[in-house]
């Protein structure tokens, strides 16, 4: 009698196993192609075993100047945006957690709603606002810069400049980061701060000596999600950057595979793999916080 449920359980286990294998193949196959193509001397559009193994594609990414530039631009803008988000959301999340003021609840609801706004829908007005800022900065820079005008604008410009991309990328990550930090600080007892206040510490001292050390795990989570989302963003660099020397990895990759006739699959696969690796590393650390981000934030 006991044999039937066991046999049935075995059948279900087998079914589960087959299903998981099939879904995993579906999920992994594109990655297998990319990894093999990036190591193939004669990579093709379709999945195949390499003719001969080589690291030449990767070496060429860094030997041809563009690949290095794209990587450096991506890393610089995304890391700057992430650091900005960590600082701003750390301060703001603390304020949102400790405040009892009337604006707290409307603000928290508002940033949840901001999260759902599609960024394409905000793009045109955003572009016009950035253009206004850009003209303002241009008017300030032009008289003093002389012939360095373009170089300076590539750094401090809001259109076709690093600063604009960094600020907009950071703003896009703020809603989630603020929620993560708010929920995190909700879980940090007030006793530590109160002890510091009794010892006569000022707000700045309290933040530096007490709150930052306590908040590190929350800041790490907020930073990871900001990094992943900003790293994967395609729309903003597509719209905001036009100079070749400012191009980032997603745009470089996109433009390169549009030239379908002269396409070098090995090189492209190597660039795509290099672009993918930081995202996968960040994701593997962020995975354990994933569920909480759906329901609001990360518990302390």
């Amino acid at each position: 009698m006991a044999g039937v449920p066991i046999r049935r359980a075995r059948a279900y286990n087998f079914l589960a196993y087959v299903t998981l294998v099939l879904i995993s193949i579906f999920c992994l196959l594109p990655f297998v192609w990319m990894a093999l193509a990036s190591l193939d001397t004669n990579a093709q559009l379709f999945l195949k075993w390499p003719d001969a193994w080589t690291f030449d594609n990767y070496i060429r990414v860094f030997a041809t100047e563009n690949g290095v530039r794209w990587f450096a631009n991506s890393l610089f803008t995304v890391l700057s945006a992430t650091i900005l988000v960590i600082i701003i959301s750390g301060l703001g999340g603390y304020a949102l957690s400790r405040s009892k003021a009337w604006w707290k609840q409307p603000f928290l609801y508002a940033i949840l709603l901001i999260r759902v706004l599609p960024s394409t829908a905000l793009l045109v007005p955003l572009y016009k606002i950035l253009l206004t800022f850009n003209n303002g900065i241009g008017a300030l820079v032009r008289p003093v810069a002389g012939e360095n005008y373009r170089t300076i604008m590539h750094v401090f410009g809001f259109i076709d400049g690093y600063l604009g991309l960094i600020v907009v990328l950071a703003t896009g990550q703020l809603p989630l980061a603020l929620w993560i930090m708010k929920v995190f600080f909700d879980g940090v007892p007030k006793d530590y701060e109160e002890a510091a206040i009794l010892d006569g510490a000022t707000l700045v001292q309290r933040i530096r000596r007490v709150l930052i050390p306590l908040a590190l795990p929350g800041l790490a989570a907020a930073g990871l999600f900001s990094f992943m989302s900003a790293w994967g963003d395609f729309l903003l660099p597509l719209i905001l950057l036009s100079s070749p020397e400012l191009q980032t990895l997603p745009i470089g990759l996109f433009r390169a595979f549009l030239r379908i006739n002269e396409i070098d699959y090995g090189l492209l696969a190597a660039i795509a793999t290099i672009y993918l690796i930081p995202a996968v590393i960040a994701f593997s650390f962020a995975r354990r916080f994933l569920v909480q981000t759906f329901s609001g934030g990360v518990k302390g």
Partner: protein
């Protein structure tokens, strides 16, 4: 009274800490959203007569929008894309994966990692990899697999563009669905299953009478989040098809982009953007309510 003054001073300090977050959010998200509403009532453009002197045109853009078959097409494409990938594809495959992984099969952590990997891929990388799978007629990887299995092949992105784009988006989201639904599944108390087994319920009955009803709140929350985030998908579709062939895969975000940045009709594009904003906001309010956040 002294305590009151202290409390007030403290609140002022906290507001100052929030300002660095408040200012960019106001200037770069709230203001653009309101500005989009204004733009949608002008004939603003980057080229032509209207570029020099934009005029207020009232609801004219909206009348034009609602009689534009390409706009209705984009709403329909978005609906199929969201329903097919977020509501059906990701949910069904994610749920199956979550249920299968609960059976503690050998190597479950490897399966979990494999299913989550597409989540980590940036949109453009996903587009690039899937071009290899789907583009190039009989040279595409999928065609080669079909040929090897003795099945017919096709020029996938030309023949079934919307289905293929929906499938690729499904691929990207199975992991998220799996993670969220696993959390929901583990919240169902095992005593309930024990009791049902005592009463002689079979696995099918247990799934439909226990698992599904108890999971309903999680499933609802998942559907809202994935719907909202799928409406704003842009890079994946743009990298794969740029909305084509024809307008077969022109989801609303690609439609807005094309109207604004390839035909340069900013006012008209903004009208489409406002419709997209309203749809997302409506769903977003549902999301906020269903979270029942205590703040």
């Amino acid at each position: 009274m002294a305590l009151d003054a202290y409390q007030k001073r403290k609140e002022r300090q906290l507001l100052k800490l929030l300002l660095p977050a408040l200012i960019p959010l106001l200037v770069l998200t709230i203001y653009p959203a309101l500005y989009a509403v204004y733009l949608s009532m002008t004939n603003e453009a980057l080229t032509g007569v209207a570029a020099a002197r934009p005029r207020f045109v009232g609801a004219a853009n909206y009348f034009r929008l609602f009689s534009d078959t390409r706009f209705w097409n984009s709403l329909f494409v978005t609906f199929v894309f969201v329903a097919g990938s977020a509501i059906i594809g990701q949910f069904v495959l994610g749920f199956i994966s979550a249920m299968a992984l609960r059976r503690k099969v050998v190597g479950s952590s490897i399966f979990g990692a494999a299913i989550l990997l597409p989540n980590a891929a940036p949109e453009v990388v996903a587009g690039f990899m899937w071009i290899s799978m789907l583009a190039g007629g009989d040279h595409a990887t999928l065609s080669k697999i079909m040929i090897a299995l003795g099945l017919p092949w096709a020029d996938w992105l030309q023949t079934f563009p919307l289905f293929m784009v929906t499938m690729v988006n499904t691929w990207r989201g199975i992991g998220t669905a799996m993670i969220l639904l696993t959390a929901g599944l583990s919240a169902v108390p095992s005593e309930v299953y024990e009791a049902a087994r005592m009463d002689g319920a079979n696995p099918r009955q247990m799934f439909f009478r226990i698992t599904l009803p108890l999971m309903a709140p999680t499933i609802f929350l998942y559907m809202l989040i994935s719907t909202v985030s799928t409406i704003s998908v842009f890079g994946l579709v743009y990298a794969l098809t740029r909305g084509g062939p024809g307008n077969a895969t022109e989801v609303i975000s690609v439609y807005i982009y094309n109207q604004s940045f390839t035909t340069f009709q900013l006012g008209y594009g903004a009208a489409g953007a406002v419709v997209a904003l309203l749809i997302s906001l409506t769903l977003g309010i549902g999301y906020v309510r269903s979270l029942k956040v205590s703040v």
